[in-house]
Symmetry: C2
Subunit: 130 residues, 2 copies
């Protein structure tokens, strides 16, 4: 068991993507990278709901769908934990595949904005460096 406080979830209300889907994607990625390991506990529904100022049932929906996918397990009366099945840590290649849509989106937008490849790369480096 770990400290669910370390699981930091964020939402972008203006993105157009439903909140429950934003949360699902973040949790999926943290499990794929083993930042959330099998057996790890997740923050409670009410905790996240308060923190993000969102209805608890919205969080519950994310958890339920992730449970249906087999990524999370429900522990009655306790909370959600990362499943011990179906959660083998992904290889680097597999994780890069999961990152592909974001890369493609960046390239696509840069093209539409007519921004040079070199500039995209230097801008990315700048922000990666903090």
């Amino acid at each position: 068991m770990t400290n669910p406080e370390f699981v930091s979830l964020e939402i972008s209300p203006s993105s157009g993507v439903p909140i429950y889907r934003q949360l699902m994607e973040q949790i999926r990625r943290m499990i794929a990278s083993n930042q959330l390991s099998p057996g790890d506990g997740l923050p409670s529904v009410r905790q996240i709901a308060t923190q993000l100022s969102v209805n608890p049932m919205t969080i519950s929906k994310s958890y339920s769908l992730l449970e249906a996918e087999g990524l999370l397990e429900r522990q009655r009366g306790k909370g959600m934990i990362v499943s011990k099945q179906n959660t083998t840590t992904r290889t680097l290649e597999e994780r890069i595949d999961l990152l592909s849509p974001a890369i493609d989106e960046l390239i696509n937008e840069a093209k539409q904005l007519d921004i040079n490849s070199e500039i995209v790369i230097s801008e990315l480096k700048k922000r990666l460096g903090d």
Copy 2:
């Protein structure tokens, strides 16, 4: 006047983002980069609707909202054109600002997937190179 056939629009039905917003963002970017210049014509509502297998009213919604923003102008009986006001081509800095969310999203996802900065950059370079 130009050939609206060259305006290639794409949608990702699985992204969760409403179709009309996906279209708006793409058109906004192409105007900002002057790939669509003031006076240029846009594809007709029915043309895009057929091409994307989407209801014409969904396209019309995108156009109407962009007209309300001042980016497009309606030409009665003819079609939509890029407005001649409010569409000064953006400077490089401004366009980079418009690209920022996509960069931030990529960095955020890479972090959650525990993918190294160097790998993110090399992967981006790989795909930018075609």
